[in-house]
Amino acid sequence: MPLLQVKDMSHDFGGLRAVNNYNLSIEPAQIRGLIGPNGAGKTTIFNLITGIYKPTEGSIIFNGHNIVGKFPHEIASMGIGRTFQNLRLWRHMTVLEHVKMAQYSKITYGIIGAFFGTAKRNREEAEIEERAFKLLDMLGIKELSDQKVVNLPYGAQRKVEIARALATEPKILLLDEPTAGMNPEELAQMMDFIRQIHSELGLAIFLIEHRLRVIMELCEIVQTLVFGEVIAEGPPDEIKNNPKVIEAYLGKEMVA
């Protein structure tokens, strides 16, 4: 059974059909890619899966449950983690606080614990902190833990965003252009980082990417989205040579 299955999903913004009859099926521990020109609707698909938008039609089955109509935080706590194309970090918080915050759904001490500092709260906060340190250690950014995120370089901020998404203990991780704006060196680091996450945590990854190199090296299967419709799906090699994809990216060859 696939981990995440999207069936015939469509979404309209007013009169504009942003996503049309989109289908997706991701197996556990699979890495999948989604490419497409700007404005094709890639991020919209992420927002639909994570519950920020509600699809006009279609269903999204995650782990056997239909998640259409659930709140974003419910979907996130079921096990869909994500990052954002434009970094959305909490600028006044430290790296450690980011990773602790993402474990919000595991807190059971309630408002009484929060107000009165009960023993249960102290215990849970300590557990959360321990898990946070463990995760940061695994990702190799433990030494940044008490830094405010705004003081970090761009590449590190990207890593913190991924670390934060991982702290929600996702079964599938949605990465929205994780290498956007990176230089070749940072790019190579980020790809190693993604590979490391995949091999150590064994989670499924669904990533939006513009750079062919990243897609070619990481993904098993790639979808190409143009104007809200999937025009091609298959292994990266096939996609690269698919005439429809080339047309969408480079335009039609003039016939003399």
Partner: protein, 435 residues
């Protein structure tokens, strides 16, 4: 000009360096011991010293009022301040530092809570002795403590959560009237509410219930704002909450049962200094617990990026409503105390002027910071009392101060700083060990 300013900066840093060199090893405990010493000293020799220096009486609020009225007395006032306050406090603190460093570390080893309680008792002793000199001091102190509560509770909404709520005077009014009606109805023979239902000796025990009732009433009002307005963010909440404040005010003005615009008086005298102090401490303690927990940090996450908070499993809607009701609750409790300190409330008190005052305290002291709220509330409360003789000019100086602050420190004096009590009370001999 530049050289001059750098020289000045050099002097300031030299003073700071000198202070840190000589006083960095003085624990809070020693400073707190100094306060009652100064207060006792003032009690015994304050009046003769003041008369000897040519002052009409003991300067009530650090002599500022007198300085403004009779500038010629400024040197005498300064001498008085140094002899009565600064010198005794500094000397006591310095002398007791070695002993109290050991004591503080021992206390901390036994129990952090016990140590905090002892510090608070000392602080209270200082305040009690200081305020026992005059009724005006006592009143100012009580109102300052209440201002701390209101400021802190608004900081939870405006600072920690980053919304802009203008309804705090409304919440205070609900709390003030809620608590007042409760106590007047039960314990006072009143023209409107009839004879007392319960004997007066029960009143102090029922007072907490009255305050909590007032707080809950305010929270209920907050719920009425939260449900429609939290679907949107930003300016909408400001406008809805402003409207709420006016609705509450005109509702009370038109409610003849509670006296309408004439106000409600004859509250029993229940808000003595220890009661107000305990409630203020409770408010600071609970708020600080809340904002330092991961649940409370969720407020910051919502403020800095709500979409990301949602995607990271934070229940943003619940978080916002809890924070809003929490802030309103403490404003309500503060309102209840306010009514019982003055033993009179009228709806006119809870208008736009009060709002400006509270907002100024929050933004002056510093957003997202318990220290900031305490500092803002205390400094602006005292300042507005001290500048009273200037009359109209006061309302030019204070706003001017705010404008300057907004230019040079846009987020307030002490913003985004965690209030770590244990760090505050721990012994200060580390620096010596290092050097």
């Amino acid at each position: 000009m530049e050289a001059n300013s750098s020289k000045k900066k050099g002097r300031i840093s030299r003073v700071r360096h000198w202070c840190s060199k000589h006083f960095s090893d003085v624990p809070l405990l020693s400073w707190l011991i100094g306060a009652p010493v100064a207060a006792v000293l003032e009690d015994f020799v304050g009046t003769p010293l003041a008369l000897g220096l040519g002052l009409p009486k003991v300067p009530v609020l650090f002599g500022f009022v007198l300085m403004l009225k009779k500038p010629l007395l400024i040197p005498s006032i300064l001498i008085y301040m140094i002899l009565i306050y600064i010198l005794p406090v500094v000397v006591t603190a310095k002398l007791t530092a070695p002993l109290f460093n050991r004591l503080a570390s021992k206390l901390l080893n036994v129990s952090g809570r016990l140590s905090v309680v002892i510090h608070l008792l000392l602080l209270y002793a200082g305040l009690h002795l200081w305020s026992s000199i005059s009724a005006y001091r006592l009143l100012t102190l009580k109102l300052t403590l209440i201002a701390v509560m209101v400021t802190l509770s608004l900081n939870v909404i405006n600072g920690y959560m980053g919304e802009f709520s203008c309804s705090h005077p409304g919440f205070m009014a609900l709390g003030a009237y809620g608590a007042s009606v409760f106590t007047v109805l039960l314990f006072v023979n009143d023209k409107i509410f009839g004879p007392a239902h319960l004997p007066a000796y029960l009143a102090p025990y029922m007072f907490p219930i009255a305050l909590i009732l007032g707080g809950c009433l305010a929270s209920l009002g907050a719920l009425a704002i939260a449900i429609p307005s939290f679907r949107t963010r930003g300016d909408y909440l400001a406008i809805i909450s402003l409207a709420f404040m006016f609705i509450v005010k005109s509702m009370i003005e038109n409610l003849e049962v509670v006296g309408g615009p004439r106000g409600l008086s004859s509250q029993p005298d229940l808000a003595a200094l220890p009661i107000v102090f305990i409630w203020a401490v409770l408010c600071i303690w609970i708020t600080n617990n809340f904002v330092r927990s991961t649940m409370g940090k969720a407020l910051n996450a919502v403020r800095d990026n709500e979409l990301a908070a949602d995607a990271m499993t934070v229940n943003t809607r619940r978080t916002k409503i809890i924070a809003f009701l929490f802030g309103a609750f403490w404003a309500g409790v503060a309102g209840g105390l306010f009514a019982h300190v003055l033993r009179y409330v009228n709806p006119g008190t809870f208008g736009i002027q009060k709002l400006a005052e509270v907002l100024a305290m929050v933004y002056f002291g510093g957003l997202n910071s318990v220290y900031g709220s305490i500092l803002g509330a205390v400094s602006l409360s005292l300042l507005s009392e001290m500048l009273r003789p200037l009359e109209m000019l006061k309302w030019i100086i204070i706003p001017l101060l705010l404008i300057l602050l907004m230019i040079f420190r846009p987020t307030g004096l002490i913003s985004f700083k965690e209030f770590d009590v244990i760090k505050l009370i721990q012994p200060r001999n580390n620096s010596r060990e290092k050097s």
